[in-house]
């Protein structure tokens, strides 16, 4: 077995230093460093004079994104990595892809690694599709000869032949995603590391991507795959690793991993029904960023709602410039990753809501629509048919409880009550007709 291990992580840890004063992006200005140093010296000398112990690092705090992570990946294994946001999935992939250094422990990698942490890394809008294929291919680690030999296959897969010599800035967002994925799909590494790239593109294209991914997986390559799409994980992977707060919580069959992950996230997301982001965080796009997304029920405060109450979703955002034809979209997604439904504010948008400023788009989901299962709320926005400003982004989970007389959920993404009637057809019971029996009643 030893010789087949292609990735071996031992006591892997990654620490980030979070500054309380330092601005969040990690960089700082030299001026700031000087002034803080001066302040520290003064404070310390004051402490020293008063005989107090010098406390170092009270302005910063350590945060372990990964701690004591151990696992072995054998050649040809397809491993799904699960965990809620902030569990350390992306950090793990970054360490494995050599983008960032571990703080402790080690990883041994035996084979050529390609990592796909994003679709279309390095795509340049001014360059043509053809030029971007070469650029993106080189960035992903392909040689020019390799790209040339696969060029036709890439173009074929992407379906943008006619626009090869058009600058990518004139592409629709769907087209550039297709082109980008086409390049990535033709990578032939021994080990492939993929992060949530299937979250983009339309359903049809996603299916094509999953098909391509399973082809790669069946070709005997080792794949590490992060996704929130449980359907994709289940169909691609045989093994799942669940991360929680930076450590391996579970390592075993993908079905058990998914079950555990879903149970986990229900609990974890079950305390908040409002998500806010600071000025430099959160989902953002050109000239627009989300400030807050909140859920509130007409009866309960959330995030556990009753199926017979109305749930109001409010999306606050800051629009930096006038955007014509923009609309806000919300999606309610089941635990399997299936979209239960989508809704947009397109019909109520007016000229005046194009102007820059802060807005709140609010949507009320009527009672008696949702099933009594956990859901994920996704938010995104864009100009239909032209531009994706913020791709559909997972915001948070909420739970819906069924009526008191029902415990097990019905099958399906939604469970609106239907009008049923029951009538005896033998003659005598004819007047029993019309008694609507609502399942949720």
């Amino acid at each position: 077995m030893e010789s087949h291990s292609v990735i071996r992580a031992e006591r892997l840890g990654k620490r980030y230093v979070i500054g309380h004063e330092v601005n969040r992006e990690g960089y700082k200005s030299f001026r700031e460093v000087l002034s803080r140093a001066a302040r520290n010296v003064t404070r310390r000398s004051v402490d020293l004079m008063r005989g107090r112990a010098i406390v170092a690092g009270d302005a910063t705090e350590d945060f372990w994104a990964l701690r004591n992570v151990d696992f072995d990946v054998m050649e040809g294994e397809v491993v799904g990595i699960l965990g809620r946001n902030g569990a350390g999935k992306s950090t793990l992939l970054k360490v494995l892809s050599r983008i960032t250094d571990p703080t402790e422990g080690s990883v041994r990698i035996n084979g050529r690694v390609s990592s796909l942490l994003e679709v279309g890394t390095g795509f340049h809008p001014e360059l043509s599709g053809r030029e971007n294929i070469y650029l993106n291919g080189a960035i992903l680690g392909m040689t020019r000869r390799e790209i040339r030999s696969k060029f036709d296959a890439i173009v074929d897969f992407s379906g943008v032949e006619t626009f090869l010599d058009t600058p990518v800035k004139r592409y629709s967002s769907g087209m550039s995603v297709r082109l980008a994925f086409a390049v990535a799909a033709h990578l032939e590494p021994e080990i492939l590391i993929v992060d949530e790239v299937l979250a983009v593109g339309d359903a049809e294209f996603q299916r094509k991507c999953i098909g391509k991914m399973s082809e790669v997986a069946r070709g005997g390559r080792t794949v590490l795959f992060v996704s929130h799409n449980m359907t994709a994980l289940r169909s691609l992977c045989d093994r799942g690793i669940v991360l929680k707060a930076g450590s391996v919580r579970f390592d075993g069959s993908i079905d058990d991993a998914i079950g555990l992950h879903l149970a986990d996230t229900d609990g974890a997301f079950g305390t908040v029904s409002e998500w806010t982001w600071g000025p430099d965080k959160g989902p953002r796009g050109t000239d627009l960023r989300l400030l807050r997304v909140g859920l509130s029920g007409s009866i309960s405060p959330g995030p556990a709602f009753r199926s017979d109450e109305a749930i109001t979703v409010s999306i606050d955002y800051d629009q930096g410039a006038a955007i014509r034809g923009m609309r806000m979209v919300l999606q309610i997604v089941t635990g399997n990753g299936d979209v239960a439904f989508s809704s947009t504010d397109q019909l109520i948008r007016t000229q005046s809501s194009q102007r820059p400023g802060r807005y709140r788009s609010q949507c009320t989901i009527p009672p008696d629509i949702l099933n009594w299962i956990p859901y994920m709320l996704r938010v995104g926005c864009g100009i239909p048919g032209q531009q994706t400003i913020i791709p559909m982004t997972d915001v948070g989970r909420f739970n819906v409880r069924g009526p008191a007389n029902r415990t097990a959920p019905l099958g399906g993404a939604v469970a609106p009550p239907m009008d049923w009637s029951l009538a005896g057809l033998d003659g005598e019971a004819a007047d029993a007709h019309g008694s609507a029996v609502s399942l949720s009643g």
Partner: protein, 284 residues
């Protein structure tokens, strides 16, 4: 942390990621990523010349106008001597070529990492590639200026000496002289974003501290060695020696000193860059 070293040498394809481990095969890696270097350089050049006609005009006009001003100020008003028989504008332009090469590399490189944040956060490659590839754009601008120099020399009927064949050597020195400080500032700029404000300052002062508008022969003999601590002095003298020929002479002790300063800066720059590059993704 050395327990894995032995096995690693037996199986060279095994990659070990550990904290604080210097990249053992850094230079080999850099070589392996040469195609990425080429394609990034090509991208920068393509975009520079695709986006703006003004970009090309600017590459030509900037040194040309500076030359005119310097010729008037230093040559006419201050009445400083030229080198040998060369017309003053030709002498100025020969000094301006390496100066603008230096200025462009320093300016472009120091911003390059911040401008390529998305690459640094998503893909691994030796980060040294990014500032280095922006030097290629500067070299393309330099080549354009070289044509302009040829035009000016034709206009004045001034023939270059055969020493011009040695020019490539001095171009290499000029690039190395620029890359040292460029790596240093690029790396510092990732951590301290206000370092880039230092660059206009360096370039502004450097333009007058370096013998661009005048010949370094006007510097008094006893100060020349000290003056050569500025690495651009040796580079500019070298350019003039190649292009102007004839009586243009290099002050060799100063030139040697300039070369040493270039080497020291390059060593410092590469060292600091490599020391910090693994934390770039966390900082950007």
């Amino acid at each position: 942390m050395s327990r894995t070293v032995d096995t690693e040498q037996q199986k060279p394809r095994v990659l070990v990621l550990e904290p604080g481990r210097a990249e053992r095969h850094y230079w080999r890696d850099l070589w392996a990523y040469r195609e990425l270097f080429a394609i990034l350089a090509w991208r920068d050049v393509a975009i520079r010349y695709k986006q703006t006609v003004i970009g090309i005009v600017w590459a030509v006009m900037r040194p040309f106008l500076t030359m005119v001003v310097f010729t008037v100020v230093f040559g006419q008003i201050a009445n400083l001597p030229t080198e040998g028989t060369a017309p003053y504008p030709v002498m100025v332009f020969a000094g301006m070529l390496p100066w603008y090469l230096f200025a462009t590399i320093l300016g472009d490189a120091s911003n390059s990492l911040v401008a390529n944040t998305h690459l640094v956060g998503k893909v691994y490659f030796p980060r040294l590639i990014i500032p280095s590839s922006s030097a290629v754009v500067a070299l393309v601008d330099f080549a354009v200026s070289l044509f302009l120099l040829a035009g000016i020399m034709l206009w004045f009927g001034f023939a270059p000496s055969p020493r011009i064949l040695l020019l490539p050597i001095f171009v290499v020195i000029a690039v190395l002289a620029s890359l040292g400080p460029a790596y240093l500032i690029t790396a510092l700029n990732v951590k301290y974003r206000d370092f880039r404000f230092l660059i206009p300052f360096i370039l502004q002062f450097g333009l007058f501290l370096s013998p661009v508008g005048f010949s370094s022969s006007v510097v008094p003999e006893q100060w020349r060695l000290l003056y050569s601590l500025n690495p651009m002095v040796g580079v500019i003298d070298g350019f003039r020696w190649c292009i102007l020929g004839g009586d243009s002479a290099i002050y060799w002790p100063g030139f040697a000193l300039s070369l040493v300063v270039v080497a020291v800066f390059l060593w410092l720059g590469v060292r600091y860059f490599r020391k910090t590059e693994r934390s770039f993704a966390d900082l950007l």
